[in-house]
């Protein structure tokens, strides 16, 4: 099958790739761009480990083809720390919101997307819970993750209740 020339813009940097149409965005990021921070769990939309931002929206990168993403602004976990840690990264660390870390990049991108769109999401317990049910974590339980997202939204200093 012939490869198609595709330019992905990831964390502000262009990557010129020749990819088969069947290459998912997740695989293109990991295998072709070398950005292995985006993880793959289920490859069928359930776990959310592969969550990245495409034009500001959190999406499952396992359910999108790379060739669909030309002209899009893609953001992955590698782009979060800008010199210093992103406030969400600090909060995840302070709140012990990860153990093995497998799900963490997906949760970070899910939360970054939601907070950038509407920081008020943390003040609506039901909406925040619904948001966090999008992704699966097999280690920590979700309470620490919830606290970290609330802390990162600036509502409460990380590490304090």
């Amino acid at each position: 099958m012939t490869a198609l020339r595709t330019t992905l813009t990831v964390n502000g940097r262009p990557y010129d790739l020749d990819v088969e149409p069947r290459r998912t965005l997740a695989d293109a990021l990991r295998e072709d761009c070398g950005l292995t921070g985006t993880h793959l769990g289920c490859e069928h939309g359930v776990c959310g480990a592969c969550t990245v931002l495409v034009d500001g929206q959190a999406v499952r990168s396992c359910l999108l083809f790379a060739v669909q993403c030309t002209d899009a602004e893609i953001r992955t976990v590698e782009g979060l720390a800008d010199g210093a840690e992103h406030p969400l990264q600090t909060a995840f660390s302070a709140e012990h919101a990860l153990q093995c870390g497998f799900c963490t990049p997906g949760f970070l991108m899910l939360a970054v997307g939601a907070l950038e769109k509407d920081p008020g999401v943390v003040r609506d317990a039901e909406r925040l819970r619904e948001l966090l049910t999008s992704n699966l974590c097999r280690c920590t339980g979700y309470e620490a993750i919830r606290r970290a997202v609330v802390a990162a939204a600036g509502d409460r200093p990380a590490g304090e209740d």
Partner: protein, 285 residues
């Protein structure tokens, strides 16, 4: 797993899509939230995909007179952010919160869900209950199909392989309509086991019309005509709600074997959910 190889075309117009579908081995790629997952499993191996994500105008929601037109690229998320006004919009909003998760709803589309026809999907039962119409466009031209004739079986519809599902038209709900939605599922993240949609119009305190839809209660979405008939002309009170719930469970539902449940349980659940949906309609509007 990874998808099998396929060819890819990005359509720029409805004509591009129809032309691409004419070869009989091409499938539409809309939100990809069901298709790509099946391709990852290799339960689907389309030879070619025509991507409709860049077709201008496909994402429009338009109110024309008493109907609302929904295009092929209107994502689930649009119904959360008030794309459709009035009680119809309120009903779609109540339903959409039960479809998958926020990151799936930013990509998945209403028409993709209709074309896919998953037996436990919410939208097919919504459009069946409301008596919507669908427009299909293929090389042979454009035709209109009533929602009640569109769904044939799980994952089977009246759409021919070379046809684009071009729009669905939903009737606006008349003044005095109250709405309800109740769903049962095993975990927050799973598909519905069963769900009931209700839109009941009251005039002078009595039911003048009712639309009740059942999700996953038969081999296709059900318009619960017996339950609707049980309400007509009566006040929406406890006895009427109980009669409708009984009719939905005993006459309208036609459940088949399902994992985790037996038939009696499914009928019982239909009755409970019908009552809950109608209770929600009369208390919350």
């Amino acid at each position: 797993m990874k998808p099998a190889p396929f060819e890819y075309v990005a359509a720029r117009s409805a004509d591009d899509v129809v032309a691409a579908l004419a070869d009989g081995r091409t499938e539409v790629l809309a939100g990809g939230q069901s298709l790509v997952l099946e391709m990852n499993y290799r339960t689907r191996r389309p030879a070619r995909l025509v991507d409709i994500n860049r077709v201008p105008g496909f994402d429009t929601v338009e109110a024309i007179g008493d109907t609302v037109r929904i295009g092929p690229l209107v994502r689930h998320q649009a119904f959360e952010s008030g794309a459709v006004p009035g009680q119809l919009g309120a009903l779609l909003h109540r339903v959409v919160r039960h479809i998958a998760h926020p990151p799936i709803r930013t990509r998945g589309t209403m028409l993709g869900s209709l074309a896919y026809a998953h037996p436990a999907a919410e939208w097919p039962a919504v459009i069946t209950a409301l008596g919507a119409e669908l427009d299909l466009v293929g090389a042979g031209g454009r035709r209109t199909v009533a929602a009640g004739d569109f769904f044939l079986a799980p994952f089977r519809t009246a759409r021919r392989p070379d046809e684009l599902l071009a729009e669905v038209r939903l009737p606006v709900l008349p003044a005095g309509t109250v709405i309800g939605f109740a769903e049962h599922r095993r975990t927050h993240a799973s598909f519905a086991q069963l769900a009931v949609i209700a839109a009941v119009t009251l005039a002078d305190g009595r039911v003048s019309s009712a639309s009740i839809g059942l999700v996953n209660a038969a081999d296709r979405p059900v318009r619960a005509r017996a339950a609707e008939a049980a309400l007509l002309g009566r006040p929406l009170d406890d006895p009427a709600v109980a009669a409708a719930a009984r009719a939905a469970a005993e006459q309208d539902a036609d459940p088949g074997p399902q994992p985790y449940t037996d038939l009696a349980y499914q009928r019982h659940t239909v009755a409970v959910l019908t009552r809950r949906a109608l209770d929600q309609a009369r208390t919350e509007g």
